[in-house]
Each structure stands twice: as C-alpha cells, then as structure tokens.
C-alpha cells in the first residue's frame, strides 16, 4: 500500500476541485444564461475531454509545457523550472481534463432555475451578488456538489494524462492510479489489490452521492 501515492492523489484531487469550483461556476452560469456567440463551440470544447484519449491530451500538454513552446518558456522564465513532470503541471492537466465533469452538472443546475426567479430577485432589490448567494446557489447546490464530487473522484483515478504529463515520480507525480499499475507490473498483488479496493470504495461513494443528488437537480416547482 503506497500511502504517499494516495496522499498525493488526494492533494491533486483537492487542488483540482478547488480551482475548478470558481471557474466552473463562472462558466456554467455564463453558458446557462448569457446569449453568447459561438456558445456551441465553447460547449464542445469543454466536453472534448470526454471523448479525447487521455494520452492525446497529455501529449499536447507535454508539448506545450516544453521549452520549445511559448507557454512553456513563459512559465519557466517566471517560476524558474518547467511545468512538465511537476505537481503544478499535474494540477493544470487535471483542471483541463476535468472541465466537462465540473462544468456540465453545474450548467444543468443553473439552467433549471427559471429566468424569472432571478429577475424577481433583482426586482426585489437584491444585488447580483446577493441573488447569486441567496437564490442561485441554494437552488443550484445539488448540481454544484455533484460537479465537485465527480471532479474529485475522477481526478483520484486518472491515469493516462497523469502518466504523460507527470511521469510517475514518487512523492511528486506518482498518483495512486500509477502506483496500482506499478505494483501490478511488479506482481505485487496484495498492494495492487488493496489500493484498487480503496479506489473502488472511493468511486462507489462518489457515484452514489451523485445519483442521490440527481433528483434534486432540475426544475423547481414552486
């Protein structure tokens, strides 16, 4: 049982979820309510990681982290080292890879709030911020929580992108999914089995939570 890999996975999932919460809320609200040009294109882009092979995404990320790319060079000149094969690089890759899991459930939750409910809040004198806190979030929270649970659980088990971008460095980028692969390759059945069981339980709790929340997302009947 590789507890440091498990701790690293928890840390990665935690950071990914925390960073994606505000981004997801902003994007989901915008997609749910604003009339924007190219909305379909943006939605497709956000959903792309659902069908894109993780190794392909990982490959492009690796390329853009490299010294040869402007992004990679810019990061290096500011921070002093490359993003590739670092924990920060993993977090960034995870964030991109988890966009659909964070944004889609939140978008659905916000879309289910009738437009006149928000308008009623404004006409009642509530500011945009108060409307968000007192009307939108209380109505959308099951979707928001669903999104967070999905993102967290999905990051815990992510393999392809993590391997491509992180390179399985113990304590830095070796997550629990990589550790399981590593132990299985070494015929260490007991460690691989224990860690797999842990992830299985973890995933089951996550998915049960999401399904339990599902009926609470959707049209509110006044």
């Amino acid at each position: 049982m590789d507890w440091s890999a498990f701790a690293l996975s928890l840390r990665l999932a935690g950071w990914t979820t925390i960073v994606l919460l505000p981004i997801g809320l902003a994007l989901a609200r915008m997609l749910a309510w604003r009339r924007i040009r190219g909305k379909g294109f943006v939605e497709a882009l956000i959903a792309l990681p659902l069908v894109l092979p993780p190794t392909v995404l990982g490959y492009y990320l690796l390329v853009s982290f490299s010294h040869a790319s402007p992004i990679g060079r810019a990061y290096e000149s500011i921070v002093g080292h490359s993003l590739a094969f670092t924990f920060e690089g993993l977090v960034l890759a995870s964030i991109i890879f988890n966009f659909p899991f964070a944004v889609l459930p939140m978008q659905r939750a916000f879309e289910s709030i009738p437009p006149d409910t928000r308008e009623a809040a404004w006409v009642s004198g509530m500011s945009q911020w108060r409307t968000f806190l007192e009307v939108e979030l209380p109505l959308a929270w099951p979707g928001v929580l669903s999104a967070l649970v999905l993102t967290f659980a999905h990051t815990m088990g992510e393999f392809g992108v993590v391997l491509m971008v992180g390179g399985s460095i113990p304590g830095e980028t070796k997550t629990i999914a990589l550790a399981i692969y590593d132990r299985a390759q070494a015929f260490d059945q007991s460690a691989a089995g224990a860690m797999s069981a842990l992830l299985l339980i973890f995933s089951m709790i996550a998915i049960v939570t999401v399904y339990a929340l599902a009926p609470r997302i959707g049209p509110w009947h006044a």
Binding site: D116, E119, A120, A121, W122, V123, L139, W220, A222
Partner: protein, 386 residues
C-alpha cells in the same frame, strides 16, 4: 392625488425583437390595464418599466425620477427602480418560506425590523398563519398573495401586475380581483395591470390601453372604449358586436344627426363631425342600444332606425337573454341585442320569429376608416382576448 410628479410616464419605441410603439401615463391611485392579444407586447412593456428589458429607444420616469432615457444613455438596473412586480407565474423563491420570500425584498429595512414588516405584509394579503410555508405548500391563490406581498415589500413607487390572475381557477380569481380592488384604495401609487381578459380590465381598471403589435391603439375608460372604439382595428380587438359599414349621406349638425345609408336602410346616428358626406365609414351599435319592438306586425313604423330580421340564436348572458337576429338584407348579416331578462323569455322572442328592432341613434358610433371586411375572419384575434 393629481401631483404630476408622481405620474408614471412611459414612452417606448423599437422595431426588434418585439416591435414597440407605446406611450402610457398612469397616475397615483390609478389602475391602468394593458390589454391585447398574446404577442402584443404587454409583458415587454412591463419589463421595460421594471428594467428587465431595455428598449431601443425609450423614456420611463416615475415620481419625477428618470429610470430610463436611452437618448442620454440612462438605464437604471431593476434594483435601482422602485417597482413592485408580480410575475405571471409569481416567480417565488421556491427554497424559501413565504415570510423569507417577502424578507428578500426588504433589503432597505434595518435587519432587526424585517421579520415584523414581513408579517405585516403577509397579514395585509391575508396570509397570516402561513408565513412558514414554502411556495410548494401553498395553493395558487396563496402563492399569488405571497408574490403581491413581496412586490409591496419594497415600498414601490409603481406596482406592476403581469397577468396575475391567469394561473388560478375562476372562483379564486374573483376573490383575488376583489381583494386587489380593496387593496388599491390603500396604495396611492400607479398600478399597471397586464391582461388579455377584456372583462377583467373592464372590472378592475380605471383606464385601459388597447395594444396591438406593441402599439398603443387607444387609451381610455373601459366603458368609453367598448362603446366608442377609435377605429375598426380596436373594435375588432375588443370583439365588438354589431359592426357594420355604410356611407354618410347627410350631415345635420343643427339637429345633432349624421345620416347613414346602410344596406338600403337610412340610419340616423348621433352627430359625428369631421366626416364628410359621401365618405365610407364603419359603424357599430352596442347590443344594449338595440331595442326589441316585438314581432313584425307590418304596421306603420312607430320610430326611426327600424331593422327587420329573424331570430337565429338565443343565449343566456347573466340574467339577460342575448338574441341574435339574421337580417333580411341580401348579405345576411347578424345583429345582436339583449332581449330582456331570462325569466321574461317566455314573452320574448323565440327562435325563428320574425322581429323588428330599433337602433338608438345615441348608441350608434361612427368610425372613419376602412370598412370592416371579414370581421368574422378575425375571430381568432378576438377570441384570444376574451
């Protein structure tokens, strides 16, 4: 009461997405009904007043404060306009109790006094005892009252009601309408009611404004509009009965009479100036101004404006009996009138009877403009408003 500064004044113009060409004014204590078929821009006008829709061009002012002036780039957000708006489907906050819904609109009241004020408002709309219920636990009529209490919570300078009675049953509607009638006496602010129900407007409104394709066609007291629509378009929209076309053949201002030729009849109407002899006109006679004289006896006419026909339909309307007669004239038009109380129906006209009716000159209203072709073809329009 007639302090001009407390008027609500609205002037809106745009071509898209919904055409608007509206001018409205509403005094404190006055209830103005915006009436029109669906898609006539009634709700959009309300949204423009509330600041939820920004028209291409427009001015809205209330209490002497300008809320919208597109010419000067002024467009206050809804939060900065003192409006109370009751949405068509109430738009209550479903996760909050009735009391919390009202408290949501009490942001201007010190925190410690909000709960007490919310109770007061709920009592005002007769919801005492239901403060802790959520919207889903309230009936449609009770939800409407919460929405009304919330709209009043802001101490609005104008109250806007968007078809507030459309989502409740007939009995509840009557009760709520009566309560609104009482409540408005206590509110000395302009009230604008949007409705597609002509009868509702006639019962509740001091003045009503007929809208069509976003344009204000006629504004006036309901009774005046019903009896004297501005033109045939308004007449069609309010479902005017007994709308005919004719020709002015003589003006006798000294006798207060305008003479019409219609289907071979010579009809004397109350004098309408500004229409020249020989002009084609439309005219109407309200069913209440058609007098049933009895069966066609063929004797000398006892009075003017006699019309003969056969009773083709008898419908009870309230306590009265509404009769339709098919006129003898070649085009077979129909004329509707009230044949007295239902109880007297035995002595009144029967189906198939040949009868004579007289049109009261004072009840005849002449409109200039296109003769009404195909009034019945527009039944759809009127029925959607009835």
């Amino acid at each position: 009461m007639h302090d001009p500064g407390r008027h609500l004044r609205v002037h809106l113009r745009q071509d898209t997405p919904i055409p608007l060409d509206a001018d409205l004014a509403c005094e404190p204590g006055e209830l103005l009904a915006l009436v029109g078929p669906s898609g006539s821009g009634k709700s959009t006008i309300l949204r423009c007043i509330a600041g939820l829709h920004r028209p291409r061009e427009g001015r809205v002012s209330c209490n002497g404060i300008r809320w919208l002036d597109t010419e000067h780039g002024l467009d206050l957000p809804p939060q900065s306009r003192a409006v109370g708006l009751v949405f068509q489907h109430y738009a209550l906050f479903p996760h909050l109790s009735a009391e919390a819904n009202v408290i949501g609109a009490l942001g201007h009241v010190p925190r410690g006094k909000r709960a007490a004020r919310a109770r007061e408002l709920l009592t005002l709309v007769r919801l005492e005892g239901l403060a802790k219920r959520r919207p889903a636990e309230l009936s449609g009529g009770q939800q409407q009252r919460v929405a009304l209490a919330r709209a009043l919570a802001r101490d609005p300078a104008v109250l806007l009601l968007d078809e507030p009675f459309s989502a409740v049953d007939q009995v509840t509607r009557r009760t709520l309408q009566r309560e609104l009638g009482q409540l408005r006496l206590r509110l000395n602010i302009p009230i604008v009611l949007v409705t597609h129900e002509l009868d509702e407007a006639a019962v509740l409104a001091d003045r009503m404004c007929i809208l069509y394709h976003g344009r204000t066609l006629q504004t006036g007291r309901p009774r005046d509009i019903m009896r004297r629509p501005h033109d045939t378009r308004v007449a069609r929209l309010i479902g005017t009965r007994n709308l005919f076309e004719g020709e002015v053949i003589e003006q006798r201002p000294e006798h207060g009479v305008t003479v019409l030729r219609w289907n071979g009849h010579v009809i004397e109407a109350a004098h309408t100036a500004s229409i020249g002899t020989g002009e084609r006109v439309s005219w109407l006679v309200s069913p209440a101004d058609v007098r049933w004289l009895g069966p066609d006896l063929g004797t000398d006419p006892p009075c003017i404006n006699l019309v003969r026909g056969t009773v083709s339909e008898l419908t009870p309307v309230g306590d009265a009996l509404q009769a339709t007669i098919r006129l003898e004239e070649p085009d077979g038009r129909e004329l509707v009138f009230f044949a007295g109380a239902q109880t007297a129906a035995r002595d009144g006209p029967a189906l198939g009877d040949a009868v004579v009716v007289a049109l009261s000159p004072e009840g005849i209203h002449i409109m200039r403009g296109e003769p009404v072709a195909g009034v019945t073809a527009n039944e759809d329009e009127t029925s959607s408003m009835r």
